[in-house]
């Protein structure tokens, strides 16, 4: 019994050797800024991934579900031709093996943009011009919906759509000067 008591005493002493809980702060107050571009591999950017994004993988990207949404801050100055929306995404080989063709519909603040057809595996950059009229205010929400996706249990437990690494909005580049 004495041995056990000694061992318990050692154990309690070991357990006591940890950080003073008073020094630990679990909260950050203060305003959070919305960004015009989101790197989905950045955990702090998760506040802009409103729904439909799974956890970060390889510190770089996330699988989406069949429907996903992102909030972005429109550029301060939007040229008359609009701002350019882009999304860096990949289509898994497995996806196209099971779904030869799928359509991704996109809406900005509830208004539709031209859909994207998903038919090949690989890395892609989706780009769409968004007219200034669609980008009123300090916030733009982009909603995406795939008409076909990998159901839960087909590949893993999750419903899987695209692999997205980055999403953003930027003022469209000014047109190149005419060649002399």
């Amino acid at each position: 019994m004495r041995k056990l008591t000694m061992a318990v005493a050692v154990m309690v002493a070991m357990a006591g050797c940890k950080k003073d809980p008073q020094t630990v702060r679990y909260l950050e107050e203060g305003a959070s800024q919305l960004s015009s571009a989101v790197n989905t591999g950045d955990p702090r950017a998760a506040i802009q991934l409103l729904r439909g994004f799974h956890d970060i993988e390889n510190n770089a990207w996330r699988w989406t579900g069949p429907k996903f949404s992102v909030a972005l801050r429109p550029p301060k100055v939007i040229p008359t031709e609009g701002a350019k929306f882009y999304m860096d995404y990949a289509v898994a080989e497995l996806f196209v093996q099971k779904i030869p063709s799928a359509t991704l519909t996109i809406t900005v603040n509830g208004k539709p943009l031209e859909p994207e057809v998903i038919a090949k595996a690989g890395n892609f950059k989706l780009e769409r011009m968004v007219p200034p009229a669609m980008l009123q205010g300090d916030l733009a929400t982009f909603d995406f919906a795939l008409d076909k996706f990998l159901g839960a249990g087909e590949v893993d437990q999750r419903e899987l759509g695209l692999i997205v690494s980055g999403v953003g909005l930027r003022a469209a580049k000014p047109a190149a000067p005419p060649a002399k």
């Binding site: 041995k3 056990l4 061992a7 318990v8 050692v10 154990m11 309690v12 070991m14 357990a15 940890k18 630990v24 702060r25 679990y26 909260l27 950050e28 107050e29 203060g30 305003a31 959070s32 919305l34 950045d42 955990p43 702090r44 950017a45 998760a46 506040i47 991934l49 409103l50 729904r51 439909g52 994004f53 799974h54 956890d55 970060i56 579900g65 429907k67 996903f68 949404s69 909030a71 603040n109 205010g137 300090d138 916030l139 929400t141 839960a152 437990q157 999750r158 419903e159």
Partner: protein
């Protein structure tokens, strides 16, 4: 004596050094369900029912789960350290019992110390030593080993006290884990191997175990979850093979290993070493080899039909049998054993350490989230706290069992859409039940009744301002498809027939109306209703729910039931794209005494589509 003490210190030191993060670890997952037990106890019958009713897959573990959590939570609240100290203290006792049992059975003190150390270093123990809900895997071997000691004393000395002690440990073991039914097989092996003439006292042990096994199967709820379904087919052999490989402590089905070839070679060396030792010992008729092997198979056999629930934690007790064999073989032939034992110690030790650190970090993530929410509640007293950008790990590790209900005054929800970022595990729960509907979130944010925090990236970040804009943009003018009549939000959606808000509920008269947002893809209508505490002679109460004028559900709340939480499928004819007018018809009603007394039908909480 000094040598024995040194051996114990060595083994106990190894346990503490290897698993010390498990001593400081916080609560996780099922712990929060067990921690809530106290709230259900108001009377002595409640206590008896809480201790002995079947819970979690129909199990009854009054000592290792119910009393463990009830007592320690009662004494220390949400402080995890006492739980861990108790678990580690019992584990140290286990180490002592192993050390002495092997010494008594083989006459080798070194063999006892080696058996304890080889058991400790197996990575299967990491799970049990890092999760309070797995305390059953620590307490059960304590009763098994104590029972074996008592049997050994009875076999050697014929002491009647030892027999009584064995029966006491045998019965107490059922309070730790239902797998105690295998004890008679272990006791039988010991008896037949060492003193077969004393076999006559075995049948009563088997009889009690058989009765308990039948009783346990009878009271266990039929398993609808595929995870806990029993499979009595050829998969038993596959599962056994998987567990045999996992018993090396260096392999688990999803464990990433690098470089794989080296790990595989190490596994083969350890498996070969153990097999060679086992064959050699059986050849020399060393009875501990057979005893250890039977221990392994007897304690593993009951979980082999769970082919969809293979976990290293189930190996905690079985690997002790292999440790007894390996230790005795190693002590007899140290030259041949040194390499496999070293490889096993390092390999399994690395896996064990990784496993316990992973679990520690997982628990800390949950701890930071819950502590952050508490801090937020102190900064914003009385406000709803909405959580956005919660990861699957944070949800399943901390939120699913609703730890927030354990802290008075907290009202925590997931922000709209937050559930859609979380992996689905329908057998464990539905994150959607924590979500505050978009229009309700907008109303709460507009009125300054809610704050929004994000736990993404570590600390909780206040993102209320951002979410206020977002909610304004996304849910302006929309009706919520779900509302809580017991909260001040969305009162604009309540029509006639409602009385003023009371804490957590709102009385409806005999007929009350409300409007809900379009159901969209929702599957059902759910309703939470309550009867009053003093209803006099009012008998059963009938509640009829009408959706757009058509009856969608009818329920009767018996006099002895205080509440109703029901759901019903939405009628096929309902237009899912448009708001819905809901009417609640309640009869009979109560009438408050005195002039102008109110007519009271039922009190309501959440009503809506989900």
């Amino acid at each position: 004596m000094r040598g024995r003490l040194a051996g114990f210190i060595l083994a106990a030191g190894l346990c503490l050094a290897l698993y010390w993060p498990g001593l400081n670890i916080w609560f996780a997952m099922d712990d929060f369900a067990w921690l809530g037990l106290r709230a259900s106890i108001n009377t002595w019958p409640d206590l008896i029912s809480t201790l002995f009713s079947p819970m979690a897959q129909g199990t009854i573990r009054p000592l290792s789960e119910r009393l463990y959590f009830l007592t320690l939570e009662g004494l220390f609240g949400l402080e995890a350290l006492p739980f861990r100290i108790v678990a580690f203290t019992v584990q140290l006792l286990n180490i002592w019992l192993v050390l002495r049992l092997v010494e008594r059975m083989t006459g080798s003190r070194a063999g006892g110390v080696a058996a304890a150390m080889l058991w400790i270093v197996n990575s299967a123990l990491a799970f049990a030593l890092s999760w309070s809900s797995a305390f059953n895997q620590i307490l059960w071997p304590c009763f098994l080993l104590a029972g074996c000691h008592a049997r050994w004393s009875w076999l050697i000395t014929g002491s009647r006290r030892a027999r009584w002690a064995e029966w006491a440990f045998f019965i107490l073991g059922f309070g730790a884990l239902e797998l105690q039914v295998v004890y008679p097989a272990i006791a039988g092996a010991m008896t037949l191997l060492y003193r077969r003439e004393r076999w006559k006292d075995l049948p009563p042990l088997f009889a009690v175990a058989a009765v308990y096994a039948v009783f346990n199967r009878w009271i266990a709820q039929p398993q609808t979850s595929p995870v806990y379904t029993l499979h009595w087919d050829g998969s038993l052999w596959t599962t056994l093979g998987t567990y045999l490989r996992m018993a090396t402590g260096m392999w688990q089905p999803d464990l990433p290993r690098d470089p794989e070839a080296w790990w595989l070679a190490a596994e083969c060396l350890v498996a070969f070493g153990l097999a060679a030792g086992l064959v050699g010992m059986i050849w020399r008729r060393e009875r501990i080899a057979v005893f250890g092997l039977l221990w392994f198979f007897a304690t593993l056999a009951p979980i082999l039909p769970l082919k969809n629930h293979i976990s290293d934690y189930y190996l905690t007790v079985p690997v002790l049998g292999l440790a007894m064999v390996a230790a005795t073989a190693a002590v007899r032939h140290p030259f041949w054993a040194i390499l496999p034992v070293l490889v096993y110690g390092v390999g399994s030790g690395i896996v064990a350490r990784r496993a316990i650190e992973y679990r520690y970090n997982l628990a800390e993530t949950g701890h930071a989230l819950i502590a952050g929410v508490q801090e937020a509640a102190r900064l914003h007293p009385g406000k709803l706290i909405l959580l956005t950008a919660v990861s699957s790990e944070q949800y399943w590790g901390a939120i699913n069992d609703n730890p927030f209900r354990l802290i008075p005054g907290l009202r925590v929800y997931l922000a709209p859409g937050a559930d859609e970022n979380i992996e689905k595990h329908p057998d464990l729960g539905d994150p959607a039940r924590f979500v505050l509907a978009g229009p309700a979130a907008r109303a709460a944010l507009e009125d300054g009744q809610a704050v929004v925090y994000s736990p993404a990236g570590g600390k909780l970040r206040n993102v209320t301002a951002l979410w206020r804009d977002l909610a304004r943009q996304r849910w302006s003018g929309e009706l919520s498809p779900m509302l809580d009549a017991g909260q001040s939000l969305l009162t604009g959606q309540l029509d006639d027939g409602w009385h003023p808000l009371e804490p957590g509920f709102r009385w409806a008269a005999g007929r009350a109306g409300l409007r809900l947002g379009a159901p969209g893809e929702a599957r059902e209508l759910s309703v939470e209703a309550f009867r009053g505490p003093e209803e006099g002679k009012r008998g059963p109460v009938t509640l009829i729910v009408m959706l757009n004028g058509a009856q969608a559900g009818r329920w009767v709340i018996a006099k002895e039931n205080s509440s109703l939480a029901v759901s019903t499928a939405l009628p096929a004819s309902l237009d899912r794209t448009k708001p819905v007018v809901v009417e609640l018809l309640i009869s009979p009603v109560l009438r408050e005494e005195g002039p102008g007394g109110r007519q009271l039908g039922l009190a309501f909480g959440k009503i809506g589509f989900r």
